[in-house]
């Protein structure tokens, strides 16, 4: 199963990454990469049809249908942040297991890079299929078009705790979030050394990406939680229509859009202000599992729902008037002389106007974990994902939301923070800058 020379194999579409190597010592080094992944060795006869994930090849012959579209893996920033939000999410948080060395972690990041590059191009992670071996790729997405798959990875604060000699590389801003209003965090859905965000318009493709990476990571990284998002709740491009969340309201109307380069540089991309050069061009990802008590919400009368949010339910227009994209006028009084958008309305408290001009880029998804077995009510809501230049932006916003009228209907039950490294050039891997 190993490649002919037993050495690490990387994505064939990219020049082979120069491996500066490390001190010779016992480690899983070489084993991870030599264990059959990406091997271009023997291919059993008759199985060549499996090589390129039939039906999943990128657009060819003028086929520009959405399912055939690929999002470039390489670039200044990782894909999956300002990429127009795909419909589906699979998000995995993992911890590095005990006994893992610095070299093991670095190897994992290298193999993950090659796997991510292949999967986002609509290819399998490995091209071998022997009848007597488990398939190198789990095969779950064979026949599923790539559907704009993006894979975005991040590093949690705990990754820099000294186990891997990375303490000096820890960004000052990458500190566990402080206790925040309206949260009761379940440790089963909190934290993580590493995260993998996979987004696609096809749920199976997104799931398959996380599953393949988790499988590759076994022995080095183990899942501590995972969430699937079944519908996007935000818009990251002006070309997209605003979706609705499980409250039935349009969400993300005022989100930063990919087209707003100035706002992105100001609020989303880490710049020279960071103490860690390796993170420049990256971002911070805040994930929050927000349970919505939809039964209670859905039986609230319409006018109250609209007052809680500060927008009209159907049109999405702010209660200060206009249409969906009209800028809310928080000073405007309603017929009764009180502010048209109430003091505790969600859009007011979350607005840049209320928070010293702060924006974040939201990229959340609706989720459900099924039904509460005791109460018979929905375990679901919003899996919030926000990208920002500094986690302090989220802390400020969430602190402002302490008075949010919506808090009666929602509760934060999971939380994690990750530093998202910048994008890669062909030949680079995720760990290059971090371990340089």
């Amino acid at each position: 199963m190993a490649s002919a020379d037993g050495g690490p194999m990387v994505d064939e579409t990219a020049p082979a990454a120069a491996d500066p190597g490390g001190p010779a010592r016992p480690s899983r080094r070489g084993v991870l990469t030599g264990a059959g992944l990406f091997g271009a060795g023997t291919v059993a006869g008759g199985l060549t049809g499996y090589l390129t994930r039939p039906g999943s090849e990128p657009a060819a012959g003028g086929d520009t249908s959405l399912g055939r579209q690929t999002i470039p893996f390489y670039g200044t920033h990782q894909a999956g942040i300002i990429t127009p939000a795909q419909d589906r999410l699979a998000f995995g948080a993992m911890n590095v297991v005990g006994g893992t060395s610095r070299a093991d972690l670095r190897d994992l990041l290298q193999v993950w890079t090659a796997a991510a590059a292949r999967m986002t191009a609509g290819r399998l992670v490995g091209e071998e299929n022997e009848p007597d071996a488990p398939p190198v790729d789990t095969g779950k997405a064979v026949g599923s078009p790539v559907s704009r798959l993006t894979i975005t990875i991040g590093y949690g604060p705990s990754l820099f705790d000294g186990r891997f000699g990375l303490a000096a590389r820890k960004p000052a801003a990458l500190t566990d979030l402080p206790p925040l209003p309206n949260e009761n965090l379940d440790p089963d859905y909190t934290g993580g050394d590493l995260c993998v965000q996979a987004c696609s318009d096809d749920p199976l493709v997104a799931f398959h990406a996380v599953r393949n990476l988790a499988r590759i990571g076994m022995g080095v990284a183990a899942h501590n939680w995972m969430e699937l998002g079944f519908g996007r709740t935000s818009t990251t491009s002006t070309a997209q229509a605003t979706p609705r969340n499980l409250l039935g309201f349009k969400d993300g109307t005022r989100n930063i859009k990919a087209e707003q380069a100035d706002l992105l540089n100001q609020h989303v991309w880490v710049g020279p202000e960071s103490d860690q050069p390796w993170l420049r061009g990256g971002s911070y990802l805040v994930a929050r599992k927000i349970r919505m008590f939809v039964e209670n919400w859905d039986r609230d009368y319409l006018e109250d729902q609209e007052n809680v949010i500060g927008r009209a339910k159907v049109s999405g227009a702010p209660l200060s008037g206009g249409s969906e994209f009209t800028t809310p006028d928080f000073a405007k009084a309603g017929a009764d002389g009180r502010p048209a958008i109430g003091d505790r309305a969600h859009v007011r408290l979350a607005s840049p106007e209320h928070n010293g001009g702060i924006h974040i880029l939201r990229r959340g998804y609706s989720f459900t974990d099924g039904i509460d077995p005791q109460a018979g009510t929905l375990l679901g809501g919003l899996f919030f994902i926000g990208f920002m230049k500094n986690p302090s932006q989220f802390i400020k916003l969430q602190t402002s939301l302490a008075a949010d009228a919506l808090n009666e209907y929602i509760h934060h039950t999971g939380s994690a923070l990750f530093a998202v490294p910048p994008g890669l050039r062909p030949g680079q891997h995720y760990g290059d800058a971090l371990f340089a």
Binding site: V31, V97, G98, E130, D132, G219
Partner: protein, 257 residues
């Protein structure tokens, strides 16, 4: 190598005959240990029976991939309440006796149940005596054993009344590593990195297990009561044993091609 091609390789031939002997020996030991267990039950010595239960069980857990080939026999020996029957009268074997000892707290009917268990084990010994194996069976069986540990033991499902999951967990891991040991002379030349990966991951499992060793331990098993292992501890064990299974799953193609 499909078909009988492996029979031309002395290292693989030795490995297969070693495995055959291992299975026979453990089946014979299973019977001896179960008979001792049954004696305690017949004597009405509940505490002694509880201590002897896991000591007999571990032998079955070493040969399970082979024993489970004979499905109905496996169910009679090692079946659970819900699998595949839900009629109490059809629930037999180790786990029914386990239930009597730890949950019913009664030996009523246990002696007859135990002698039935021994009879089934003797039938198993006969079947094992004429069983044929090949290297691929061995490799797949080794992974199956680790999968057993990763699912039925980590969850605490299998030894639900007694909480003696840790010694049988160890038996699963030991027996799968026995397969690797038998195959090492062949594998070392074929793919040394797979061997070292497996050994490394086995060492990781063993090192986690040492946290739970105790003398004489819960029920004299040498381990603590599994119900005392925290959620975090179980998660660590699970990650380690899954990593071992993943590495072990690479062996099948090495011994067959």
């Amino acid at each position: 190598m499909s078909g009988p091609a492996w029979q031309g390789n002395p290292q693989l031939v030795t490995a297969v005959s070693g495995y055959s002997a291992f299975v026979k020996q453990n089946t014979a030991d299973l019977i001896t240990r179960t008979q001792t267990f049954c004696k305690a039950i017949s004597a009405g010595n509940m505490n002694q029976a509880k201590a002897l239960y896991p000591q007999a069980r571990v032998y079955y857990e070493r040969i399970e991939p082979v024993a489970s080939v004979w499905g109905s026999l496996d169910t009679s020996i090692d079946g659970r309440w819900e699998n595949p029957v839900t009629v109490k009268s059809q629930f037999t074997g180790f786990h029914r006796i386990e239930q009597m000892l730890w949950q019913d707290n009664s030996l009523n009917g246990a002696a007859a149940m135990c002698s039935g268990l021994v009879k089934n084990e003797q039938q198993l010994l006969t079947l094992v005596g004429s069983a044929q194996y090949n290297p691929l069976d061995m490799a797949a069986g080794a992974t199956d054993l680790i999968n057993e540990a990763a699912t039925n033991k980590i969850s605490g499902e299998e030894e639900r009344y007694s909480n003696t999951d840790l010694p049988v967990f160890e038996a699963n891991v030991d027996a799968s590593m026995k397969v690797i040991t038998l195959l090492v002379p062949y594998l070392q030349a074929k793919n040394a990195s797979t061997v070292s990966l497996i050994k490394q991951r086995d060492a990781a499992v063993e090192s986690l297990l040492t946290h739970y060793k105790a003398t004489p331990g819960y029920d004299s098993t040498g381990y603590v009561d599994y119900s005392k292992v925290t959620k975090t501890g179980r998660k660590q064990l699970s990650a380690a044993v899954n990593a071992l299974a993943e590495a072990m799953s690479k062996v099948s193609s090495e011994v067959s091609a």
